[in-house]
Amino acid sequence: MIMIKKRRIPRLLQLVLVVLGIYFGFILTFDVILGQLIPKSLLTMYMFFVISGVLMVFTFTEESTQELIDPIKALVEDPSKKMLRNIVFVIVPLLAGLYTYSSLSLSFEAPVELRTIHPAPPSKVKAYGKRFDLATLENPYRKYEKEDPDKFRELVKEGGDVYIQGCQYCHGDKLDGKGPYAEGLNPTPLNFQDVGTIAQLQESYVFWRIATGGPGLPAEAAPWISSMPVWQDFLSEDEIWKVILFLYDYTGHQPRSWEHE
């Protein structure tokens, strides 16, 4: 009787193929299909845990673990694999050396920066010659959203005028952080459309950031770099509150609050 043995891809090769498939899958999905590249730092983190997960699946039974380990053992112990062993033992350290060299060698590339998007606000802030308690400070015009919608629309429009005159050059006419000057700035201006910016913040926080700008950033976790002007020198308190109304209205976000609508 002739036994027909189903040929199966060796377990070790399966593992390597799965890992490579996921790695290139990430690059294909993000860099090519979505057009938004996946940062190297994040891809490294992702792959570390992907490999952990794949290893877990491949080793949770004894049989599978043995299948995975046997070729590695054979490579080290089997006298007939001497040539292959020598090749692997030369290539692996060379690859490790190449990786280490390329990671540590000096380049003209500026070092990566870990920027905190939301610096923590002080509890009280000085602006317009007085002190504001950020925990209790509220937008005086927010109430008109319900009480007098017509007046609210008018205020939003006035805020829009302020925005076009002063803010859109950097933050963009779509509020997406891509104004005409944005390319020249590092860090780039904030994208208010992003769900992680003003949508996460109370209006008092936004008031603080506009009024005191880059120089008003807190001492903790300094040095901050920001080219945001100190708008209290150019705008009135009312104008800042109106422009805040406009920011939320245009983007469709709601300011962070603790009260239900």
Partner: protein, 609 residues
């Protein structure tokens, strides 16, 4: 003789109970009329105590010892004390539960295991006390004005704490040394009651100590100058006290389970025969079960605590999640993910105990995919680390696809899925060696599949619609129905399984001890990850006060009043973790030498009869 002992033990029990219930009356202000008083309740004029404002210190007011970094010393000692404290508080909680299980099932293995657990904690108990004493010395030595300020406000509760510590010790020793004596019938009930009393006193101790810590974060009944104008209860019942109490109680149980799991793994790997391996395998499984059962609700308790911090202070919340500490939260996410991964891996390896589990093997890879994908979402940072070339290519620091994964709605959704699929691993494990024989088994399975499917859809809708298209109130609030969905799925599935597998047919025996050694390393990883995680997050909890000893009222003007860099902080915590693990290994080793006996032929003089 036995009768006399019973009388002594009952007497000791009543004294302990009396002391425990008497203690609250020693704490000024804790009585029924004041218990629900407003935080800022002012003591009556008659017995009003005038408190001094918070001192304004200079660097010269902080005593120093050449060559000693006072902050690092206090930091490490406090952390070690907390780790041991968490362990010795947690062990009696699940020892009590296991003892109850043993008592109700009359399965002595549970009783023996509970005894072995409490035996491990005995040495750790004295180490906790020693480290607590050392911490007080360090605080008095290096931060005398801070200690004095807090002690003035908390003198009542500190005194109660000291007394309560004696009560707890007394109960613990009777509970432990009386274990084999208080067996059977009424005596077992007495022993169980002692266990309850031990837990009550232990938790009360922790709650009191929590109050001192949370007062430093969210002081109550104080004015801007730090003048305290309330009573002890007002100081204890500060804004963050209860959220911390809940979080720490649950976390302690998970942590205690993981440490005991590491002990079982240590004993399993050093076992010399089949019986020992089987015993410690079973023990490790139960410890892991405890750790995971408590780990499942932990992310919710943590989320509640963080949300409360945000409510208390926007500054504190942003410092925590969006500011300087945000990257520690990424490390935290990675470690929590590592906990889930190792817990799942342990369960999958454990399926090898029974041949019946083979039918579930094909599903494991799908569970792994969901767990890893959820995990990747769980730790995707909001602020990406980008090279200049990447920054240029993306047109700014905002990633259109990954950016939304950086905020809480995505993470809440991911963690709920992590929990659900970990639970699914557990369900498969439980079914490994059995086949349901009830006629409605197919329907039962269908209901469970429907439950999981609708639940997951609900979690997704809550996470995406409410998480991204409504205001922050709903974003935060949506996490509650998400959690409830997960809990409902778990509760109903457990109930269905309980009925469906009643009298189920065993397809293959469960062979305890037949697990690979690498599964035991998963238990070690669990314990180390927990320890490191607690250290890091403990640093964050304390660090968000930044340059304040007591937030906004008592400034830290010591030379160390700066927020250390992430690398520095991580190094301190890592060193503390290594010290703690070394001490834990010492405790484990002690438990092994107590059973060793050396043969000393010819050493002792023969005694004539």
């Amino acid at each position: 003789m036995q009768k006399r002992n019973s009388r002594i033990i009952i007497g000791a029990f009543f004294i302990a109970a009396f002391a425990l219930f008497l203690l609250p009356s020693l704490v000024p202000g804790i009585d029924a009329s004041l218990a629900f008083a407003d935080e800022a309740a002012v003591a009556s004029d008659a017995d009003a105590i005038t408190y001094a404002p918070a001192p304004k210190l200079t660097a010269a007011d902080y005593p120093t010892i050449p060559g000693v970094n006072s902050r690092v010393v206090v930091w490490i000692v406090a952390q070690l004390h907390l780790w041991f404290g968490a362990f010795v508080l947690a062990v009696p909680i699940f020892v009590f539960i296991i003892e109850v299980i043993g008592m109700s099932t009359r399965d002595q293995r549970y009783d023996n295991m509970a005894y072995e657990f409490i035996k491990i904690s005995i040495t750790a108990f004295s180490l906790t006390a020693i480290l607590g004493g050392l911490l007080v010395f360090c605080l008095i030595l290096f931060y005398p004005d801070l200690f004095n300020y807090l002690a003035t406000i908390f003198k009542g509760s500190m005194f109660a704490y000291a007394l309560l510590f004696f009560v707890e010790s007394a109960v613990l020793y009777v509970y432990y040394y009386g274990w084999h004596w208080l067996q059977g019938g009424f005596k077992k009930w007495v022993h169980l009651t002692l266990g309850l009393l031990l837990n009550a006193s232990g938790l009360l101790l922790m709650f009191l100590a929590n109050a001192w810590t949370t007062f430093m974060m969210s002081p109550s009944a104080v004015d801007a100058a730090g003048v305290f104008s309330g009573d002890t209860w007002a100081a204890i019942h500060n804004f963050l006290w209860n959220p911390i109490n809940i979080h720490r109680t649950i976390a302690n149980v998970a942590y205690g389970g993981s440490i005991v799991g590491a002990y079982a793994a240590f004993k399993f790997l050093s076992a010399r025969n089949k019986e020992q391996r089987a015993h410690y395998d079973w023990m490790g499984y139960n410890a892991n079960f405890i750790a995971i059962a408590a780990l499942l609700p932990l992310p919710f308790a943590g989320y509640y605590l963080t949300a409360e911090m945000y409510v208390y202070s926007q500054q504190m919340g942003i410092t925590l999640m969006g500011g300087v500490f945000a990257w520690i939260f990424i490390i935290q996410a990675v470690l929590i993910g590592a906990l889930f991964l190792s817990a799942n891996y342990y369960l999958w390896c454990g399926m090898g105990r029974s041949e019946g589990a083979h039918r579930y093997y094909p599903y494991i890879k799908y569970i792994a995919i969901v767990i890893v994908v959820s995990f990747l979402v769980w730790f995707t940072p909001h602020t990406l680390v980008l090279t200049n070339a990447e920054l240029k290519s993306l047109g700014g620091p905002y990633h259109a696809v990954l950016g939304p994964l950086g905020i809480m709605p995505a993470k809440n959704t991911a963690v709920n899925l992590l929990i659900l699929f970990t639970f699914l691993s557990f369900m498969f494990y439980r079914r490994a060696n059995k086949i349901a024989t009830v006629p409605w088994a197919a329907k039962g399975n269908a209901i469970q599949i429907a439950l999981f499917t609708t639940g997951i859809i609900n979690i997704f809708i809550l996470g995406t619609y409410y998480g991204y298209y409504t205001n922050t109130v709903y974003k935060v609030a949506a996490s509650i129905p998400q959690v409830l969905t997960t809990l409902v799925i778990i509760a109903i599935s457990v109930a269905i399984d309980a009925f469906m597998y009643k009298g189920a047919k065993e397809v293959a025996p469960l062979r305890w001890g037949r697990v690979p050694a690498r599964s035991q390393y998963a238990l070690f990883l669990l314990a180390v990850s927990f320890t490191w995680l607690m250290g890091l997050m403990g640093y964050v909890r304390s660090g968000i006060r930044q340059h304040w000893h007591v937030t906004n009222i008592f400034r830290d003007n010591s030379p160390d009043a700066f927020t250390p860099g992430l690398g520095y902080a991580a190094n301190v915590i890592s060193i503390a973790t290594i010290i703690f693990m070394a001490m834990v290994m010492f405790v484990f080793w002690l438990s092994t030498i107590s059973s060793h006996k050396s043969k000393t032929a010819g050493y002792w003089k023969e005694q004539g009869t």
